[in-house]
Amino acid sequence: MDETDRKIINYLQGDFPIDNSPYQIIAQELGISEDELLKRLDSLLENRTLTRFGPMYDIQKLGGSFSLCAIRVPAERFEEVTQIVNSFPEVAHNYERDHDFNMWYVLATESLAKIYITNQAIEDKTGLKVYNMPKIQEFFVGLHFQA
């Protein structure tokens, strides 16, 4: 990653234009050619320095539902419970965290009812209590990571 890559990463965390030739606009602002911008973006995505590039949708505003859920999984059952939880397509992310509440997953579904149904199914299959922690208020989402 060189200086130009850093500039691209920092710049593209802002707003990308909706325009006939949006890459041309950004390339001009960065002082490089459109071809070079496209080539560099392609390799930044290829080597996973960028995880994605495009519109970020707010699933809740689209009528979908989201929830953060936690389970206290006994150490000896961790692998088994991971397999059960991950087998649900509604589970979008799942992280192990360094805590008594050691499994944290995010459900993304097309309705609120489906959040409850999925968590009920996870409780039934694991025999463990699910702590459903949907957001009550959102104060901030975003962050500019300085490259």
């Binding site: 994605r52 495009g54 970020m56 505003k61 939880v85 992310h93 965290r97 949907p134």
Partner: protein
């Protein structure tokens, strides 16, 4: 959201094409006019259905190795004010109020903190402690140990009947 919006979302949720005229390319794929596609996406930006269009860096690759979910116990009648202040800090990426489960889970304010090392995160925690002051009845940091699953969020092609 109508059928066309849904088609636009499913066509773009994995990313914009890296071609000189990306919106034309998507419009062609959906067999609609590029102007209509751009109008619809502009409208979704204005309503917040699209948060923004841009790049998502892999923060681990940029050297942000220490990523903690910090959880705070603050009075319910102060959570709005404190949440706003916490969310405004430069090193906080997500900040939410969430329900408590008493007695085992007393925390109602969640903030993701990012730093290049655990020491750097510890410095930032000190800033949060100072900010919350007497309103903070306790907090914990939950560092991620491993990613067990990460598929991203996907809308299906057709809404369930």
């Amino acid at each position: 959201m109508d059928d066309l919006d849904r088609k636009i979302i499913t066509a773009t949720q994995s990313g914009l094409p890296l071609v000189k005229e990306p919106y034309q390319a998507i419009a062609q794929q959906l067999q609609i006019e590029p102007e209509l596609l751009m109008q619809r996406m502009q409208a979704m930006l204005e309503t917040g259905q699209i948060r923004r269009i841009g790049a998502v860096p892999n923060h681990y690759k940029l050297g942000y190795a220490a990523n903690a979910m910090s959880v705070w116990n603050v009075p319910d009648d102060k959570v709005y004010e404190l949440g706003q202040q916490l969310g405004a800090l430069s090193f906080v990426s997500h900040c939410y109020e969430r329900p408590r489960f008493l007695p085992e889970w007393p925390y109602n304010l969640f903030a993701m903190l990012h730093g290049k090392s655990k020491d750097e995160v510890a410095e930032k925690v000190k800033q949060v402690v100072a900010l919350l002051g007497e309103h903070c009845a306790g907090y914990e940091l939950l560092y991620s140990k491993q990613i067990l699953k990460k598929t991203g969020l996907r809308l299906k092609e057709h809404s369930p009947k």
